[in-house]
């Protein structure tokens, strides 16, 4: 009798205890889901943040930051908090590759925005492709990045993880050549490039477009990145009787070239690509930059109605540097990645093949971004082929012509 009651007592106690424990653990789980314990997902950024090209690079970092803040505030992906991890590649390809490896090895990174430079991109693509990690560049314009080395004859997409929101130099160079010959009525051009993937490629495509239109290339030369004294080159340009100088490269060298060109007494404008389209160019070259021209991808961000909200947020965020050329595109690139993550990551649960799925989702993305419609074609290129010519007028870049270019 005594024995039996003990058994009953024990079992009752045990059952009660178990029930209580069970209740407790369930409560804990619930608290974790709705409270502060969200899954953290990192959007990587790779761009030059110091030194060469950093004025433009900081705009990329800022654009992504605004997009991520937006996504967190609006809770775009339930159960997920986004964070930005920005790495500095100093515009050096080898640093870009190291950064890519670092981002790939962090499981929390589900997408990367960057890099700024096409030359850096060539060293990063393979790393991302091997890890199936999506990469969207807001600014790379070298055609071979998406269409393969022989893009002029046979387009083959080399890396399925690589996308870009900027259009290619194949269009940019031609667009610039068309404007120079038909609108500016320039007939003799001197072409200079910096021997980098982007600069040399752009200069070649401009040359092709300009000669096809009927213009004449009266001289060519190359400079090294980091060079400062261009006086010998300026004398050559003056002697060639060119009425326009086309420069394929970044603002770091072109701002010195244009100053020395005008100081040397050559009153001809310098024309460049999106690498030169930076406020730093005007600040440093001062009034010697007046009348210079640059093409850039897309339409001018500050005139787009869709971008006004972005510009306001960017300025309110107190970020380092200006949104510059690619801030809007970086916002769109980051948003494309965030939207893709939203389709893959449900309730904060990251599937084991999330990276591969996100790549597929980005390929299918279609929405209206701050800098225009965002969608990618079968090569990973943007379907938005808008380009704009800007000219320095009263110390500011002023849009003089927007349009598309088809060969």
């Amino acid at each position: 009798m005594r024995h039996r009651s003990l058994v009953i007592l024990t079992s009752v106690l045990t059952t009660g205890a178990l029930t209580l424990t069970a209740c407790g653990s369930r409560d804990n789980n619930k608290g974790g889901d709705s409270g502060s314990k969200k899954t953290e997902v990192i959007i990587g950024v790779d761009a030059p943040l110091t030194g060469q090209n950093s004025a433009t690079g900081l705009g990329i970092q800022g654009g992504v930051q605004v997009a991520v803040d937006d996504a967190n505030k609006k809770n775009l992906v339930p159960g997920v908090t986004f964070k930005v991890q920005a790495l500095d590649d100093k515009a050096i390809p080898a640093s870009g590759q190291q950064n890519a490896t670092q981002l790939v090895n962090n499981d929390k990174v589900l997408g990367v925005v960057g890099p700024l430079n096409s030359g850096v991109a060539t060293q990063m693509q393979q790393v991302f492709a091997t890890a199936n990690l999506v990469e969207i560049s807001p600014s790379n314009t070298a055609p071979e990045l998406t269409q393969g080395k022989n893009w002029q004859t046979k387009k083959v997409r080399p890396f399925k993880t690589y996308f870009r929101t900027a259009t290619t130099d194949a269009l940019q160079g031609g667009f610039a050549a068309d404007y120079a010959y038909n609108t500016l009525k320039k007939k003799n051009v001197f072409v200079v490039d910096d021997k980098q993937t982007y600069g040399a490629g752009l200069a070649k495509l401009f040359t092709a477009g300009f000669t096809k239109a009927g213009g004449k290339v009266v001289g060519t030369d190359h400079v090294n990145t980091g060079d400062t004294d261009f006086s010998a080159l300026v004398t050559k340009i003056k002697n060639s009787k060119a009425d326009l100088v086309y420069y394929g490269g970044q603002y770091d060298e072109s701002e010195k070239l244009t100053k020395q060109l005008k100081d040397g007494g050559a009153k001809i404008p310098l024309f460049g690509g999106d690498g030169m389209f930076s406020d730093t160019y005007i600040q440093t070259a001062g009034k010697t930059s007046e009348g210079d021209l640059a093409t850039s991808v897309g339409q001018p961000v500050d005139t787009l109605a869709s971008a006004q909200d972005f510009i306001k947020k960017y300025k309110a965020a107190g970020l380092k540097g200006d949104y510059g050329t690619y801030g809007g595109y970086s916002y769109d690139a980051a948003t494309a990645i965030i939207k893709a993550i939203g389709n893959v990551v449900k309730d904060g649960k990251v599937p084991s093949d999330a990276r591969a799925k996100i790549v597929d989702e980005v390929g299918k993305t279609k929405f209206n971004g701050v800098a225009g419609p965002v969608a990618f074609d079968q090569y990973g290129d943007t379907t938005n082929k808008q380009l704009t010519v800007y000219q320095v007028t009263n110390g500011k870049w002023k849009a003089v012509k927007s349009g598309t270019f088809n060969g």
Binding site: A232, G264, G286
Partner: protein, 310 residues
């Protein structure tokens, strides 16, 4: 249009800047046999010193004709202080150490100075705009000279002449010659060699600051890493002219500047050499010249007697 006179002038302008910086390398080497690799950064800090004077000391809108001397003094002061400080705290404690120790210290100091400006000078992470003389270009026959180039072409010979008189005629100058020849005997003769070494660093620093102002005026901007390339070129100029010899440094600078300019402008006009000419190759040709000179005249163009240094 015959471009040769203009190109020669371009080469002289560039070469004068190299020469001014090279003086600093050569004087320090001549006296303590130290290659002061931080000299490029002393050049850079001189530029930032001058900019500081213009931006933060002088009232806004000061005419450049008044500002320029003040900037030279300010930039010179910063460069001299840093050069002398480097000597006192980085090199002097290592005076008796093996040759490699001060060399590594110099490289470390160079990085430290670069990073210090990069981190702490306002907005120095990219190019800083340098004030400009709002005049020119002037024309002399077919040669056009910008205001910055005019500054360097006047400043370099003036500095050089002053230095030559100083070294030849003043008491300190003679003491420098004596120290360069044989520091131990010089000390026995009552020369304060430590003071002489400080003077050598100070003169080198001031000349570098003059070059930095010239650089800023010519290119319109200065940057935290501008000392690296210019320092390397100036060091090359010092070796080309014969390191240890002040006239050699200036001549080496001019020859290097001319070689770079002429290589940029004329090599690609030689049939079959299109691929090897132009601005991208100018440094290559300058170094080819250096190798050739060193092959046939290891002591450099002007050369220093090496024999009496046993």
């Amino acid at each position: 249009m015959n471009t040769l006179p203009q190109q020669l002038a371009n080469g002289l302008f560039l070469g004068s800047m190299y020469g001014l910086i090279a003086i600093g390398y050569t004087m320090v080497y001549g006296i303590v046999q130290l290659i002061n690799f931080a000299h490029g950064e002393i050049f850079m800090t001189g530029g930032f010193g001058a900019l500081t004077v213009y931006l933060y000391v002088l009232p806004d809108g000061t005419s450049m004709w008044i500002a320029l001397p003040a900037m030279l003094i300010g930039g010179g002061l910063v460069s001299v202080l840093i050069a002398v400080g480097a000597e006192r705290f980085a090199y002097r404690p290592l005076r008796g150490a093996p040759r490699l120790a001060p060399l590594i210290t110099a490289i470390g100091l160079s990085l430290a100075l670069q990073q210090a400006v990069f981190n702490w000078y306002p907005d120095a992470k990219t190019d800083r705009k340098f004030p400009q003389i709002d005049a020119g270009p002037w024309h002399l026959g077919s040669i056009s000279i910008s205001s910055g180039s005019l500054f360097v072409i006047i400043a370099a010979p003036v500095c050089m002449a002053a230095l030559a008189f100083f070294v030849r005629l003043s008491r300190t100058g003679r003491a420098m010659q004596a120290t360069a020849q044989d520091p131990d005997t010089a000390q026995l003769m009552g020369i304060d060699t430590n003071r002489i070494i400080v003077v050598a660093f100070a003169i080198g620093g001031f000349f570098a600051a003059v070059a930095a102002v010239a650089y800023g005026l010519r290119l319109g901007q200065i940057k935290y890493d501008m000392g690296f390339q210019m320092g390397l070129k100036a060091f090359t100029a010092a070796v080309l002219g014969g390191i240890g010899n002040i006239y050699g440094a200036m001549i080496g600078g001019l020859v290097l500047g001319l070689a770079e300019t002429l290589a940029t402008s004329y090599i690609d006009e030689i049939p079959g050499m299109q691929q090897l000419g132009g601005g991208g190759w100018s440094s290559v040709w300058a170094f080819v010249l250096l190798i050739l000179v060193l092959l046939f005249r290891p002591q450099g163009l002007v050369g220093e007697r090496v024999a009496d240094r046993a």
